[in-house]
Structures are given as C-alpha cells and as structure tokens.
Symmetry: C2
C-alpha cells in the first residue's frame, strides 16, 4: 500500500526544495524570469534557428522575438521544423490546441502548441471536479469516480476525478469546467453553473514517463483548478464522450484502498487527497504526514502563472 | 483598500523564493537540517555558553547537547541567563508554556519556552476555527467573527477567527480546538467534537513588529491547523474568557470590507481568505492573484514540522 505522501511524491516529482541548477531555463527577450525548465538532452537535440540565444554556461535558452506575434511564429516554426526532422517522439501527437504562457504581470507572453509544452517545461492548467453525495443512508460522503477508457493514450483504465480536462487558451476555468462537465459526465450546464464550487488549486511538477509515450523525464508543472459539487440523489453522471468507461459512486474506504493500490492517475490521486483534507477525512490525528501533504498539494511554481 | 495578495504579504513576510543567506541557521548536534532562523543581531546579543558552537562564516548556531534532556536544560539555562541580564525585551513575558521542536522523522528534538521561539525562529503551531451559518434568510453564508479584547497585548481590538489559539506541547490540534472553543466561544465540547471539520493548514512566516512589544524583525514561521463548523441557528457563540470582546455574525461583504481596511490581524486575515477560497467566494474569475494566493496560504517551511 502506498502512503499518502508517496502518492504526492508520485505526482509532484520535483519538490520546491530540489536544486534546479542542472536544468536549462527557458527565457524570453524582455523578461527577467524563467518560464520553464528544459533538459540538457532536449537543448542538444533542437536545431535552434538564429532567433534563439543558447547559453551553455548560464544554462539558458532565450527566445529573442520582441512581440507576441513574432514569438508565436518563431516557436511554431521551430517546432514544426523539429517535427519534420522527427527529432522528438512527443511531437508526433501534434494537434491544433495551444497553451498560453503568462508573464509576471499576467500578460500573455507567447502561445505554444500544447503537445510541445513538456519540451520547454512551461506551466499548464487544468480543471478538476469531484461530484459527491452526502445525503446517503449512512450519512457518509460518497464520491463519483470515473474510470478512464481503455483506449486513452495516457493512463488507460486508471481512476480519475468525476470530470477533468486541460484548460485551452481563451477559456476561463469555470467555463471550461461547465463544458467538460457536459461532455464527460452529461451534467446539464445549469446544474454545474449553479452547484459547482471552486475550492482552490492543486499544484505539482510531474515528469513524463513511459505511460506518456514520448520523451522521458520532461518537466510538466501544472496548476489544477479544483471544484466540488454536491449532487442531488437523482442526478447520475453518465459518460458523454469516450474519455471515461464508467463513473461510479464510491465510498471513502473504497477510494482509500484504490489510492493505496495506485489505481488513480498521479494527478487525480492528489485531487482526491486535497478533497479528503478539505473535508476532514484526512487530518493531523490520522495522517502522520498531514502538514507536509496539505502544503505540498499547493506548492508554488518557480514561474509566473495566469 | 488592501488587495487580498497584500493581506497575504502582510502575514507571510518572508516568501519561499526569498534568499535566506543573510540569516543564521539554528542547528542541533546530530541533525543535518536547520530548525529555525536567527538574525545576526540576535546572535551577537546572546552570551553563548560553551555548549553552543557559533560559526560566523557558515552562519550557524549549533546546540551541542546530545540528548533531549540535555538540550532542554541547555536552552532553558541559556535563556534564563539572558533574562537575568535583560538582553531581550521579548523575554520579559516569560511563562511556563513550552513549544516543541520536531526533527525530520517527527521525533522530539527539544522544547523551548514559548516566549523565546521568535529568537530562534522555530516553527510554532496553532488552531483556528471559523464557525458559520449557511441556512440564512438569503441563503448566503455568514461567519462568526471575534473582536479581540482591548486589553490584549498583541493586536488589541482587531478582528479574529471565531476561535483560535496556539498549540501547547502534548495536546493534539483537535483536542486543543475543543478546549479553546469551550474557553473562547462557550461551545459545548460535544458540539465541537461532532461538528468541527479539519480542512488543512495555513502556513506563513511572520516577522515581529512594534505591535508585539519585543524585538523587531524576528522570524516566526507558523502552521495553523484550520477548522470550520457549520452552526445550528440556535447556537450563539459567547466569549467565555477575556480573549474576545464580542463575537458577531458577519456577512461576506462586511468581512471583505473589514479585510480591505486591515481590521483583521494578519494571520486571521489569511485564515478568512483560505475559507473564502475553499468555499468558492474567492475564485479565478473574481481575483486576479488567485493562483498565487491559494498557493502562498499553504507555503512550505524550510524546517521539519510536527
């Protein structure tokens, strides 16, 4: 059985106290702060066009474009060329989705094809909802847990939040949640809009592994906007697309057991732990690593956020 | 009006990304990790007996005692001698209360008179409860907010959680909460035991200021165990000791206004912000610093915790 702290470590694989000096920092002309971390192997694989400045002593990779438009074109062209060359397995999954990178003043600094975010180690965003029932026969809370489809590219058949998804550029977290809740759990828009409650963020730095099907060890700092929604008894979540195989109402003890056996995806294990902490299911008296867990789930990132 | 991020900064005055290299680290023989931060002025004011090893180049202050008993006696004797000499204003408030310092394995490393904790910058612990009503006439949540007595040594007449207190050695957070809730708000033990719900921790590093009446700028890293309790309408909190002048039921808009005007103590402002985040009152769509605030409220400490 994995401990709860082990579950956090499975997801947040580069804790805030770890020395990042072996990594290259992703810099942008005109900004003092880094926007992500690159592995040395990544830096050496790219054929950097001359609008990049690579400093191997200072370990920086700097994009020189001076406007948003210029930077977007430069990064897009650079990645498209690498895709043609077949340099990175990860780029084979190219889609039209883009992620936005924000500056210290929350200004838009550049956009990057979603699939390439781990190469530069930029912060990405998602939404996660746990729908639950508390008016149960025994008065104990139960949570609707999704099982990922067998056909998912990442983490097939593992357990998930009721609803979850990555946040595309141009959508606010709450609107994204409403859309995803309709798509993934068939929740009427009005239900989510009136009943879902924001409850903070869960933050971590994952690293890509063999389950992702691309390069290994890339940094993926994430911010998950977490929500919860108490469901009336007559509302039954039903998978509305091909993301989930089923969504079932689980008791706390069943969920704890599934967590311990590693049946949740690393990120969704943390989403559940955060719910357990907010609801007093995990507390100082029953969890020896309580302070570390409740703090680590909300760790700060080394880069600006939205 | 103070912004919510300014309220966080008022309380967490030494954020995790700040360089601590100007500070002396408090070390203990046999342990690799520091247990607190001391100011250079503090280090130079002490007359260190020979069971201390002071390293000005490496900026460490090391207690050499090899057992818990030895260390407790050494630190007690050292502080008592300074109190006799009148070296530190802060030591005038000496009480019998002691705080415990824990190691990386959560083992007890030493105990220190409570009043002296800021001199060594060790982590201290507290409990905070917000009692609220949600079955109000307009369906909006209201929170019972205490006003500190005019006679309090620190932050007189400012606003506070419903119940709060520091955690003495030997008491678990939940038992401490039950005791404080009876003392400060006249809540029956059974009510708190069955209705109060743990919801995580709020962490910050305050620095002492003129309102504390002692030395200035000392580091006080704290972990607050947070609780909430939905109260039935017929339960009215009543100040049971001399800590609070009154406890009143406030609407969210009233509380927001009081926060903006700086009427809450810095720590309790953060406790309220954390409640607002957990309950979706503050969210990404209405708070530009949402991600930073929800992460900073749970910042990690540089030292081991209980």
């Amino acid at each position: 059985m994995k401990s709860n702290l082990e579950l956090v470590n499975d997801c947040d694989q580069f804790p805030p106290n770890r020395d990042p000096s072996f990594l290259y920092r992703f810099m942008v002309n005109g900004f003092d702060c880094p926007f992500g971390y690159l592995l040395e192997a990544t830096v050496n694989t790219f054929s950097w066009p001359d609008y990049w400045e690579i400093n191997h002593d200072g370990k920086t990779v700097k994009l020189l474009g001076s406007s948003l438009e210029e930077r977007n074109k430069q990064i897009h062209d650079t990645l498209l060329a690498e895709r043609e060359r077949g340099s990175f397995k990860i780029l084979k999954g190219w889609t039209s989705e883009i992620f936005s990178v924000y500056g210290p003043q929350k200004d838009l600094v550049l956009s990057i094809p979603r699939i390439a975010a781990p190469l530069f180690g930029i912060v990405t965003y998602g939404v996660q909802l746990l729908a639950y029932q508390s008016d149960t026969s025994d008065g104990a809370i139960r949570i609707w847990i999704a099982r990922r489809a067998k056909t998912k590219r990442t983490y097939p058949s593992m357990l998930d939040s009721t609803v979850g998804g990555s946040l595309p550029t141009g959508e606010t977290p709450f609107e994204c949640l409403i859309r995803e809740s309709a798509e993934e759990a068939s929740f009427p828009e009005e239900l989510t809009r009136t009943k879902a409650k924001a409850c903070g963020t869960v933050n971590y730095v994952c690293r890509t592994d063999e389950r992702g099907g691309g390069e290994l060890g890339l940094f993926t700092p994430e911010v998950q906007f977490t929500y919860e929604m108490e469901l009336p008894k007559d509302v039954i979540p039903t998978p509305g697309d091909n993301e989930a195989e089923e969504i079932t109402l689980m008791r706390v003890e069943q969920i704890k057991s599934a967590l311990g056996k590693g049946e949740f995806t690393p990120a969704n294990g943390c989403i559940v732990l955060d719910f357990f902490i907010r609801h007093g299911i995990i507390n100082f008296e029953n969890e020896k690593d309580y302070i570390e867990i409740s703090s680590r789930l909300h760790r700060t990132h080394a880069f600006p956020t939205a």
